[in-house]
C-alpha cells in the first residue's frame, strides 16, 4: 500500500514541473553543501594524517611560544624564540637520539632574470644532522646531496620550485640568487604533495643567518628524533622538563611547545573539525530553509488539490491514507532534492580536489563515505516528510463534502 502511494505521488509531480523543480532546488543546495563540505573535510583529515605520517611517529617538534597560542600554524607569529642553545639542551635529554634546529623564512629567489618569493628552509650541516634530515619525508632527496659544512653557498631546491615559480625546471649546477647572494643548486628534493615543500629552497643554517642578517641564534623550530625503545610522549615530557629548567619558567608559563607527531595531528584535526562543524552548521541552516520551502509548496498543493482529497475520501481513503499520500509526496520532494544534492556535492568536492591538484596540493583526496551518502539521502527524505507533516494533517482533516464542492 505504501509503495502504491509512492507511485501515486510520483505521478502527481508531472503536472507541476516548475514548482516541483524549485522546491527541490531548496533542498539540493543544502544537501550539496553538506556532502561536499563533509567529504572535503574528511579528505583534509586524511591528508593531515598522511602529512604527519611523513613527519614520522618517532619525531617530536618543538616550536616557540607556549600554551594554546602555539601550533604549527602560528610559528613565526610569536615573540618567543628558540635558539641553538635549546638544541644543545635537547640533545642531552634522555631518550633523544638527535635534534636539529630549523629556520624558516620567506625569501626572494631570482633565477634567469625573474624573481619570486618562496619558503626557505635552513638547518645544520654537520653529518649527523644531514643524515637526520634526509630521513624526513619532506626533505628526502631525489638527486644530489645536501651541502657539507664547508659548502656555504650551495643550496637544494624542491622538484617543482623551478616549474611552478619560473616555468622552467631548475637543474643541478645552475645558479639561483637568494637575497642578492648567488647560490649553486646541488640537490633536488623529492615530491611531497604539499605545495609549500614542493616549491621550497633549502640552504645551510649559517648561510640563511647570513642572508637574512640574523645575529642571534634564532630558530623557527626544532626537530627531535627519539631513540629506539623510548615512547615519544615520555621523551616529549623530558624535553619539556629540561627546557623549563633551562628557561627558568614554571609549569604553565612555557615559552615553547613540545609536541609529538600524534599531538600535532590531534591539534590540527581539532582545528579542522571546528571549521568543519561551523561550515556544516551553515549548510544545515540552508537545509532547514529548504524544508520550509517544501512546507510552503505542500500547503499550496493541499489547497490546490482540495477537490482531489474529496474524491479520494469519497472512494474510501481514510484520514491516515490521505496523510500518508501527502507525507510521502513531500518526503519524495526531499529525497529527489537529496539525490541531486549528493550528485552535486560529489561534483563540487571533485572540483575542489582538482583545483587543489592544479595548485600543487596533490595530497588532498576527497573522501566519500557510504555512510555520508546514505545518511544525506535519508536525512533529505526525513526533512521532506517532516516539512510535509503539517500540510498533510491539514489535508487529512478536510471534510469530504466540502472538499468535493471546492472550486478553484
Amino acid at each position: 500500500m505504501i509503495l502504491d502511494y509512492f507511485r501515486f505521488s510520483i505521478s502527481t509531480f508531472g503536472g507541476r514541473k516548475l514548482r516541483t523543480a524549485l522546491t527541490i532546488l531548496g533542498i539540493f543546495i543544502g544537501i550539496a553543501a553538506v556532502v561536499s563540505l563533509i567529504s572535503l573535510g574528511q579528505g583534509m583529515q586524511n591528508a593531515v594524517d598522511e602529512q604527519f605520517e611523513m613527519l614520522g611517529s618517532n619525531r617530536i617538534t618543538v616550536t616557540p611560544g607556549g600554551g594554546d597560542m602555539s601550533s604549527p600554524m602560528t610559528t613565526g607569529l610569536v615573540a618567543a624564540k628558540l635558539s641553538d642553545h635549546d638544541v644543545e639542551v635537547i640533545r642531552k635529554v634522555k631518550g633523544v637520539d638527535h635534534a636539529i634546529g630549523v629556520l624558516v623564512r620567506t625569501a626572494k629567489i631570482e633565477y634567469r632574470g625573474k624573481s619570486r618569493y618562496t619558503m626557505l628552509f635552513a638547518s645544520s650541516t654537520d653529518s649527523k644532522s644531514i643524515k637526520f634530515i634526509e630521513n624526513i619525508d619532506y626533505f628526502m632527496l631525489e638527486e644530489g646531496r645536501y651541502p657539507k659544512e664547508s659548502e656555504k653557498y650551495k643550496a637544494s631546491v624542491a622538484i617543482d620550485t623551478g616549474n611552478s615559480l619560473f616555468d622552467r625546471e631548475i637543474k643541478r649546477g645552475e645558479k639561483i640568487t637568494v637575497n642578492d647572494r648567488n647560490l649553486e643548486v646541488i640537490a633536488i628534493t623529492k615530491k611531497t604533495g604539499n605545495p609549500v615543500h614542493d616549491t621550497k629552497v633549502t640552504v645551510p643554517l649559517d648561510t640563511a643567518r647570513d642572508l637574512f642578517g640574523i645575529e642571534d641564534e634564532e630558530l623557527s623550530l626544532i626537530f627531535v628524533e627519539t631513540s629506539a625503545g623510548f615512547m615519544p610522549a615520555d621523551v616529549a615530557e623530558n624535553i619539556e622538563d629540561a627546557l623549563r629548567k633551562d628557561h627558568r619558567v614554571k609549569i604553565g608559563e612555557e615559552d615553547f611547545t613540545v609536541a609529538t607527531a600524534e599531538q600535532l595531528i590531534a591539534s590540527f584535526k581539532g582545528m579542522l573539525g571546528m571549521v568543519q562543524v561551523f561550515l556544516v552548521g551553515i549548510a544545515f541552516i540552508s537545509l532547514l530553509v529548504g524544508g520550509v520551502g517544501i512546507m510552503n509548496t505542500m500547503y499550496t498543493s493541499v489547497l490546490e488539490r482540495t477537490r482531489e482529497i474529496g474524491i479520494m475520501k469519497s472512494i474510501g481513503a481514510r484520514n491516515i491514507d490521505v496523510m500518508a499520500i501527502f507525507v510521502i509526496e513531500s518526503g519524495l520532494l526531499g529525497l529527489v532534492g537529496g539525490v541531486v544534492g549528493v550528485v552535486m556535492g560529489y561534483a563540487i568536492g571533485k572540483a575542489a580536489e582538482m583545483i587543489a591538484v592544479a595548485s600543487g596540493v596533490t595530497i588532498l583526496k576527497v573522501f566519500y563515505s557510504a555512510e555520508l551518502i546514505i545518511g544525506a539521502l535519508l536525512f533529505s527524505f526525513v526533512i521532506g516528510s517532516l516539512s510535509g507533516m503539517f500540510p498533510a494533517i491539514e489535508a487529512s482533516r478536510k471534510n469530504p463534502v466540502d472538499s468535493l464542492r471546492y472550486r478553484r
Binding site: M1, D4, Y5, F8, S11, T12, G14, G15, R307, E308, G310, I311, M312, K313, S314, I315, G316, A317, R318, N319, I320, D321, N399, P400, V401, L404
Partner: protein, 252 residues
C-alpha cells in the same frame, strides 16, 4: 468483559442475519433495506445562523432498487445524497447501512464503509487527472488494501466492461466527457459495492452520451446493483423504478 461478550453476540447475530439475507431469492431481496434514513435532520451553521437542510427526512432504499432522488436546488437533495452516501452524518436521527447505524461513526470508519459498499459517480466525473484511467480505477482498491495483481486484473476487466479496454493508459485529460464518465463508472464498481450512487451523472454530458451512461447504469441495475441517482432531469429520472421527491428539506 460481559459487555464485550454481549457485543460479540450481537455482532454474530447480525452477521448471521446478513448471511440469511444473501441467500434469499431475488423477489424477497427487494424488501430488504440497504439504506434507511430515519427521521434525519441536518443543520448547517453559516456563521451564527443555523440553516436546516434536512428536516425530518425518512428514506428507505431496498436491495436491488433503482431510485431517483429529485428536487429543485435548495431542496436538500445534495444533503440527502451525502447522508445516503455516508459522506456526512446527520445532526439528528439515524442512518443505517445494511442494518448498521452509521450516524455515530468517525470519519475514517465512514471512509472504509464508503470504499467497500458504495460506488460514486459524479456530475463532474471527479477523476484524478494526473494518473491514467486504469490507475483511477485501481485507486479505490488501493484504499481497501487489494494486491497489485488483483487490482490490475479487476481494473482491466471493468474498463473493458465500459468499452475502454483500448484506453486504459490514457489520462482523463486525454478523454472525452463520455469516456471520462465511463472510467468513473468502472471506478465506482472497483470494490464491487452493493450501492451505486450517481449524482447528476449526465449533467455534464450531451444528451446522446447521457443516454449511453444511463444505459450503462440501467445495465448495472439489471445485474443486481442497487442504484440511487440524484437528478433534476425528469427524462433521466424516468429510468428509475421509484422517484423520491424532496422540497424544503422534506420528502414530498
Amino acid at each position: 468483559m460481559i459487555l464485550y461478550e454481549n457485543h460479540g453476540i450481537y455482532e454474530l447475530l447480525d452477521d448471521s442475519k446478513l448471511f440469511i439475507v444473501s441467500d434469499i431469492g431475488d423477489a424477497m431481496k427487494k424488501k430488504i433495506p440497504v439504506i434507511e434514513v430515519r427521521n434525519v435532520e441536518k443543520i448547517y451553521k453559516m456563521g451564527d445562523v443555523e440553516v436546516p437542510a434536512l428536516d425530518g427526512v425518512d428514506i428507505v432504499i431496498n436491495r436491488g432498487e433503482f431510485v431517483a432522488i429529485m428536487g429543485p436546488s435548495g431542496s436538500g437533495k445534495s444533503t440527502a445524497m451525502n447522508m445516503v452516501g455516508c459522506l456526512d452524518v446527520p445532526t439528528k436521527g439515524k442512518v443505517f447501512l445494511d442494518g448498521h447505524d452509521i450516524s455515530q461513526l468517525g470519519e475514517s470508519e465512514l471512509a472504509q464503509i464508503r470504499g467497500k459498499k458504495i460506488g460514486f459517480i459524479f456530475q463532474t466525473f471527479n477523476l484524478i487527472n494526473s494518473i491514467s484511467a486504469i490507475e483511477n480505477v485501481e485507486l479505490p482498491m488501493i484504499f481497501q488494501g487489494v494486491s497489485k495483481d488483483e487490482r490490475m486484473e479487476i481494473a482491466k476487466k471493468l474498463l473493458s466492461l465500459v468499452d475502454l479496454g483500448d484506453r486504459m493508459e490514457h489520462k482523463p485529460t486525454e478523454m472525452s466527457g463520455g469516456q471520462q464518465q465511463r472510467v468513473a463508472v468502472a471506478r465506482a464498481l472497483a470494490n464491487d459495492p452493493e450501492v451505486i450512487l450517481a449524482d447528476e451523472p449526465t449533467g455534464n454530458l450531451d444528451s446522446r452520451t447521457g443516454e449511453e451512461i444511463i444505459g450503462l447504469i440501467g445495465k448495472l441495475h439489471k445485474e443486481g446493483k442497487t442504484i440511487i441517482m440524484v437528478t433534476h432531469d425528469e427524462d433521466i429520472a424516468k429510468h428509475a423504478q421509484r422517484i423520491i421527491r424532496l422540497k424544503d428539506g422534506k420528502v414530498v
